[in-house]
Symmetry: C2
Subunit: 115 residues, 2 copies
DNA sequence: CATGGATACAACCATATGGTTGTATCCGAG
DNA sequence: CTCGGATACAACCATATGGTTGTATCCATG
């Protein structure tokens, strides 16, 4: 499934990007778009380049973007993308819930049969 | 972050498990727990063993489980885990939204400054 | 316009992932 | 108890990921 937006973005990439604690933390920290990659890297144990790579993954997923600010490039969470990602999860969730709902009685029945 | 449940489950694993279209499809198909791995595999192009591996990933993430049913082992989506996963996403979303909300005026201000 | 801080990128390594084929085990049906 | 269908697992391969260090580029500042 592909959700259209500024930069078309990929469900696989979004979930994959979120499947790492460091990256989820970066998304949080970048919400106010006040830090460059150096500052971000300061919060973690790993090397600067490693953080750069994580940032690249998030960027590829469309979850963050970088913009020049004076001498630095500031990392900012893409709120639009975040909302879209969220909507995406909602879609799946409702799909799932839909099926779950349609199934509830069957399950309840079978549970009672088991007992 | 670790959410306690029947089998303690890992955010990284959950997101990673969802970062693949085949696996998301399996989660859907396994909601009614009517198919074994062979039947599931029938829906995809890849080999049986490949599907088995995907199932294993989902199982490790706690999103599905297998239970014997006669000669077969039936794959069933773990609804509890699904709801927990969903709750997890909600948690993140509210965290994010919280920050976003607290930030809205600042952003609006800066936007106006830009204009 | 030269310097240096910030960023980018390349090469390298270890491990994980996603796929294959092949073989082994398990267990209900007959 | 044997047979065969369903499942499991091992070995292998290609590629991706997450980390490292080192080098190159970029550009605002002084």
């Amino acid at each position: 499934m592909v959700v259209s937006m500024d930069t078309t973005f990929n469900v696989d990439h979004v979930f994959a990007a979120l499947a790492d604690a460091t990256r989820r933390d970066i998304v949080l920290r970048a919400l106010d778009g006040s830090e460059g990659v150096v500052e971000l890297a300061g919060h973690f144990q790993m090397s600067f380049a490693a953080v750069q790579k994580h940032v690249a993954v998030l960027e590829r997923a469309g979850l963050i973007s970088k913009e020049r600010s004076g001498r630095r490039k500031v990392v900012r969470t893409n709120m639009e993308a975040l909302r879209l990602a969220r909507g995406l999860l909602d879609e799946y969730e409702s799909l799932w819930r839909g099926r779950i709902d349609r199934m509830t009685d069957l399950i309840t029945l079978s549970k009672e049969t088991e007992a």
